[in-house]
């Protein structure tokens, strides 16, 4: 089991900060289109220079997700992927020498059902470095926060455009690893550009916290990654990647992974 000292997410952000670099965080739906494909995508992304990847645990009722990620969850569950399969996949990635920091994006419905302490221990044992529980806001998070820390996991919380300024600072202070800044009032999904207020809000927040701030929701191209990373410590891209997987789904796994990887390379370009 990992301890906070060798947590890959903390280490990665420390290194990025020292070199003045930014993070691109791709998001994958575990088990979409199948669990082997997820493993292949992780390897491909790492080879292209990705240092942190978010792994979404498919959930039957994801209320913060737009149609793209929602459909990928439904298909993954329909194909029978389980929490156990995802943990095994992550463990196999680690056993194969995988060194990216992995952040689990997982609904509190799943966490609670498995037992918060037991589940977070299992995540850490499988090689995850962080958990993001998008439906566990600050006021409900205290227990999970200390259990995550005890398991050696960073607990990442989200800030929304609707979050009042003082609460933003409070959330950033309580996050470990990074703070997830939601760029738009709404659900996940590709958008052409981000509201200018978001950029200003991220710049403002960074004055009040040392916790890295990464921006997600709606980022769909290299240009937006560049804009976001001018103020933020990293950019998170989800739906645009899932959409590329869907487009390449009929190809053999290695070709599919390479095709999606090419898109990730495009996204990486402005920050490498």
């Amino acid at each position: 089991m990992s301890t906070m000292e060798n947590n890959r997410l903390l280490r990665t952000f420390a290194e990025l900060k020292a070199s003045g670099a930014k993070a691109l965080m791709p998001f994958l739906t575990a088990g979409y289109p199948n669990i082997d494909a997820t493993g292949a995508l992780l390897k491909d992304f790492e080879a292209r220079g990705v240092r942190i990847c978010e792994v979404g645990f498919p959930f039957s009722d994801p209320i913060a997700d737009g149609p793209t990620i929602q459909a990928s969850y439904t298909k993954a569950l329909g194909a029978g992927v389980t929490v156990g399969d995802i943990l095994d996949m992550a463990a196999a990635y680690r056993a194969g020498g995988g060194e990216m920091a992995l952040a689990a994006m997982v609904s509190y419905s799943i966490v609670f059902r498995q037992g918060t302490e037991a589940f977070l221990d299992k995540l850490a044992a499988a090689g995850f470095d962080a958990c993001i529980i998008p439906d566990l806001p600050l006021d409900e998070a205290a227990a999970a926060e200390s259990l995550a820390a005890a398991a050696g996991l960073c607990n990442v919380m989200l800030i929304a455009p609707t979050t009042p300024p003082e609460r933003r600072v409070e959330i950033a202070k309580r996050c470990r690893g990074f703070t997830y800044f939601v760029s738009v009032t709404g659900i996940t999904g590709e958008r052409v550009s981000l509201p200018p207020e978001t950029i200003a809000a991220v710049a403002e927040l960074r004055k009040h916290t040392d916790t890295p701030v990464c921006v997600g929701f709606g980022i769909s191209n290299a240009e937006t990654v560049k804009t976001v990373c001018e103020v933020a410590d990293g950019a998170i891209v989800g739906s645009a990647i899932i959409h590329r997987i869907t487009d390449a789904m009929d190809l053999p796994t290695d070709q599919m992974a390479a095709k999606v990887g090419d898109f990730v390379s495009e996204l990486l370009e402005p920050i490498l």
Partner: protein, 406 residues
């Protein structure tokens, strides 16, 4: 109104024992806090309460009658059976009590648009009605399976000026409509109020909906005292999310002599996927923003559910019901599709009242109980809605029964 069972945590989220809470994306937290503040301010504001009472009377048609079922009582030869006639409300069910209250809250918050989820369509119709009365824009999210089962209510909503948004995810029923309404609220939260239809969802909804529905129990308590000079021995109500049950139970929850029974949808069988009875056979879990009993698989994925009644076809239940189950204050049981249909036919023929399929679950259980009780005892049923909306569905089911037996 304060409730001892609703102890706020440091963060302000409402809990009933270990149940309840506010498990939502951060985007919605500010709106839920605003709603909580406005609700508390409104309930302490005499002019708001007077306006609510006026709306309940002039628009909702309150008070609803307390009705003694003379022929049904004689036929069963046991306890006296009374109905609280929520089926006589404007729009045909108890749902209007909540939508009028929440529409007034929406106006107080200066929001111009409301959204709602609906299963049977009763909450959707009641929301569309309130929106029409107060000149609010209205969108109702409804699963395509329910759109098929409840075509008349879909037409009514449209006629009332609401947009009906078909939901095609999951099983295309109430749970999926809730997801879609919450997603829509994520994007429009600053100018839109979500009129949640049951005592479910994140705090403060379970408390708000219970308070607006408690008019049922407050009236029933007075009416029982006037009619019999005492309270009923048992109150029976159907439980999907549990708003009509919470509304009739809450005002008498401190009256220890009154037993209470909540009836969930037993569906085709008690195998997972064949029913909608989380309190009877589920376990605590998180769904749609609160911790309560829920039907899930071992990973925490929401299970499929089934009920003859679209309004009970839901894998979760309001957190206060979980609390009442755990404390033993209310007994929860279930009734099968067939038993509900039999009760529907029975009440229609003996009393001239066609109950909604949802409410028929309560009628079925009450008939079983009354038959075994002494004639000096009283059973009160919350007849939460009328069956007009179900007539097409009832016709098909009865035809199938005649064709191939039950």
């Amino acid at each position: 109104m304060a409730d001892d069972n609703n102890t706020p945590t440091a963060g302000g989220a409402g809990y009933f024992g270990q149940f309840g809470g506010q498990f939502v994306p951060e985007t919605l937290v500010a709106a839920l806090r605003q709603l909580d503040r406005e609700f508390n301010a409104a309930m302490a504001d005499e002019s708001f309460l007077a306006e609510l009472a006026r709306c309940n009377r002039d628009i909702g048609g309150r008070p609803s009658e307390l009705y003694f079922c003379k022929r049904l009582t004689e036929r069963l030869g046991g306890a006296k059976i009374y109905l609280k006639r929520e089926d006589m409300n404007h729009t045909g069910a108890h749902k209007i009590n909540n939508t009028l209250g929440q529409a007034l809250l929406c106006l107080r918050m200066g929001k111009k648009r409301v959204i709602a989820e609906t299963g049977a369509g009763q909450h959707g119709v009641a929301t569309a009605t309130a929106a029409a009365v107060f000149g609010l824009e209205c969108s109702v999210y409804m699963g395509t399976e329910d759109i098929r089962r409840q075509a008349l209510n879909v037409f009514r909503m449209k006629l009332l000026g609401a947009e009906v948004v078909p939901v095609t995810s999951g099983q295309c029923t109430l749970k999926d409509a809730c997801n879609e309404a919450l997603r829509e609220w994520m994007s429009s939260v600053e100018g839109t109020h979500y009129i949640l239809g049951s005592v479910t969802g994140p705090h403060p909804f379970p408390t708000i909906v219970r308070e607006f529905q408690s008019v049922i129990g407050r009236e029933a308590r007075e009416q029982m005292l006037a009619a019999e000079n005492r309270l009923p021995d048992v109150i029976v109500a159907c439980v999907g999310g549990g708003s009509n049950a919470a509304g009739i139970f809450a005002p008498m929850i401190e009256d220890a002599q009154v037993a209470m029974v909540g009836v969930e949808a037993g569906g085709r069988s008690m195998n997972l996927g064949d029913h909608a009875a989380p309190l009877c056979v589920g376990q605590p879990g998180v769904l749609h923003g609160s911790l309560s009993y829920v039907l899930q698989d071992e990973d925490g994925q929401t299970a499929d559910v089934h009920s003859i009644s679209a309004g009970l076809d839901y894998p979760g239940v309001g957190p206060q019901h979980s609390y009442w189950k755990e404390t033993g204050r209310v007994r929860y049981t279930s009734c099968s599709d067939d038993e509900a249909m039999d009760a529907l036919v029975e009440l229609s023929r003996t009393e001239g009242i066609i109950p909604a399929l949802e409410s028929s679950h309560a009628v079925a259980e009450a008939m079983k109980l009354a038959a075994k009780m002494d004639p000096d005892k009283i059973v009160l049923i919350n007849l939460s809605g009328r069956g007009d909306k179900d007539c097409n569905e009832i016709q098909e089911i009865l035809a199938r029964r005649e064709g191939g037996g039950k």
